[in-house]
Amino acid sequence: MKAIYKRELRAYFNSMTGWIFVAALTVFIGIYFTANNLINGYTYFSYTLSGTLIVFMALVPVLTMRSLAEERHSKTDQLLLTSPATLTGVVLGKYFAMLTVLAAPVLLACLCPLIIRMNGTAHFKADYASLLVYFLLAAVEIALGMLVSALTESQVIAAVGTFCLLLALYLWDGLVGLLPTSAIGSLAGIFVVLVFVCLLLNALSGSWKLAGGTLVLGTAVILGFYIKKSSTFADLLPKALGSFSLLDAFNSFATDHVFDIPGLLLYLSLIALLVFLTIQVLQKRRWN
């Protein structure tokens, strides 16, 4: 793992990618910091951070696109996967290298609350907690980008795919708001979700019997609940999907200044899940 981590980090800073990521993020944080905190005199740095979140949509794909797609394209994955290193080690080495690149501008941003303090009131607890969650949110996005990169051998597809998924995550609250809130609407929505899960199951297991069985059983359970007590279904789907909103947790840190432990746990578990899925994607390729 250490060897891969070192190589990846060196590769990021030997090429433009690492420098561009660090420079662009620093510049954007700097612009918002200057405008909000220095010129307009707003005392919360967390407000500035929430303004720069949108930049990740462009920068994260740049960082993650080559991570695994390039290895596969140039067949260097044969070296890594036939070495004594474990697959988990390979993926984590790459992931930690990307986190290190991310950490550089975030550490620079840690100076900003100190600068605010020098000029008057500062809110260290709120700001540094926000910086932590800012880092974690970006870490989730990087894990997502790495997963997409593992799925393809084309860097372009990896970048575009990551961009689209991040876009969907940023628009999540708005999209969920469009969903129907009536009980019958939720029922239809949940059925659609079930069908998707079964299709995924079919693709992963290759057994249509398992997928079909799950579909029939799931439909029966949903219908049973619906007939018994249809009122619980009202608003169910938007609520369920809304709880996956990534920005909610960040906003409760950055705008409400609340230390949102469930939100923090959501980020950490998403990171674990995405890294796990990346390992599984690579593992499955051996068996294709």
């Binding site: 250490k2 067949k75 044969q78 070296l79 996967l81 070495s83 004594p84 068996w287």
Partner: protein, 370 residues
């Protein structure tokens, strides 16, 4: 020791490797031979743990590749078909990375890298970016990577592709020197290369095991001294009358007649070379050439891997029956008739050491008896 048992790899309905079993002893140079697409690379990828087999097991030095992947891979150095190089690193950086990846103790790393570099003659290239290296040098960097750490088993997938003839000879010497302490498994679709370096050859065809033996034994099984070809100075009539006086000549065919020479294919029972020599000498028709038309490994290979299933099956049957089945009973009954006919055609290109670089099967070398 490497043991492969009943290996199967299926992609949908197509079998890339089909119930393949073989054993490689310690210290052997073991060659995989087969035409393109025969399943050589797939087998190597499974042996190194890059791909998983649909069925079957691979034991590297007693470690199952699937059950104990880390322990098994520690025993392997692998050069895939396309050397796995990072173009943004220098040769030295790359080898340092590989040494760390292979978990070579820090204290030994420098020494090991130095040895690998000198064995592959890369001393002058260590500071260069891999991006700027030529194909031959890249191949050697890949090779240096594979031998780094001096694992017990070194697996090389077409190690000499893209090298010039001099480099090919160097690589062969390197393989020979490695074989003193390591097991080397290499693949090729170039026959002469396998013949030159390997102790044992495995021929595979469409993913299936065809035969596994030493190159000499394979040749021996299909060769016989009872098919001769001669070139004599003299007229056609004179030559034919001389042949009639020699005992044990079962058949003869004229292949090439010029005003003062004749080329004749002769079928005999037993070794009649001396008798032929004296008979022609007495008749004052000097023999310019006399050679036994051996089935070389080339013929074996061509037949065994023929697209036509029938030809391949007949050749394989001949191999298993071994020497008990004399090959010649008149030209037309020879089972490897197709190959025999090919060898009798005049060689379009003279055989020589440089032909070993030919992209496909190099021309025939026949044993000449003066």
């Amino acid at each position: 020791m490497v043991e492969v048992q009943n290996l199967v790899k299926r992609y949908g309905n197509r079998s890339a490797v089909d119930h393949l079993s073989f054993t490689v002893e310690d210290g052997q140079i073991f060659g995989f031979l087969g035409p393109n697409g025969a399943g050589k690379s797939t087998t190597m990828n499974i042996m190194t743990g890059y791909l998983a087999a649909t069925e079957g097991t691979v034991l590297i030095d007693g470690h199952d590749v699937c059950e104990e992947p880390e322990a098994a891979r520690r025993c392997i150095g692998y050069l895939p078909e396309q050397p796995p190089l990072y173009p943004d690193m220098t040769v030295l950086e790359y080898l340092q990375f590989c040494a760390e990846l292979k978990q070579i103790p820090k204290a030994e790393q420098e020494n090991q890298i130095g040895q690998a570099v000198s064995m592959t003659h890369l001393e002058d290239q260590t500071r260069r970016l891999i991006r700027n290296l030529s194909k031959g040098f890249r191949q050697r960097v890949g090779l240096a990577q594979a031998i780094l750490g001096f694992p017990k088993v070194i697996i090389l997938d077409e190690p000499t592709v893209g090298l010039d003839p001099r480099q090919v000879v160097e690589i062969r010497e390197l393989i020979h020197s490695l074989a003193k302490e390591h097991t080397v498994i290499l693949s090729s679709h170039i026959l002469s290369e396998i013949q030159a370096v390997c102790d044992k050859v495995l021929i595979i065809r469409k993913g299936k095991f065809v035969t596994c033996d030493t190159p000499d034994a394979l040749e021996g099984k299909l060769s016989a001294n009872d098919r001769l070809e001669l070139l004599a100075k003299g007229t056609r009539e004179a030559a034919e009358s001389v042949l009639k006086t020699v005992e044990g000549i079962t058949s003869h065919t004229l292949t090439d007649v010029t005003p003062d020479t004749v080329r004749i294919k002769v079928g005999t029972d037993g070794d009649r070379r001396e008798a032929l020599f004296y008979a022609f000498a007495q008749a004052r028709c000097p023999l310019l050439e006399l050679r036994s038309r051996m089935a070389s490994l080339e013929d074996v290979f061509l037949d065994l891997t023929d697209e036509d299933d029938g030809v391949a099956a007949r050749a394989a049957a001949l191999l298993t029956s071994g020497e008990e089945t004399p090959a010649a009973d008149g030209e037309k009954n020879v089972p490897s008739e197709k190959a025999a006919d090919e060898t009798s055609l005049p060689d379009p290109v003279p055989a020589g050491p440089t032909d070993e670089q030919a992209p496909d099967i190099a021309p025939e070398k026949e044993d000449t008896v003066e």
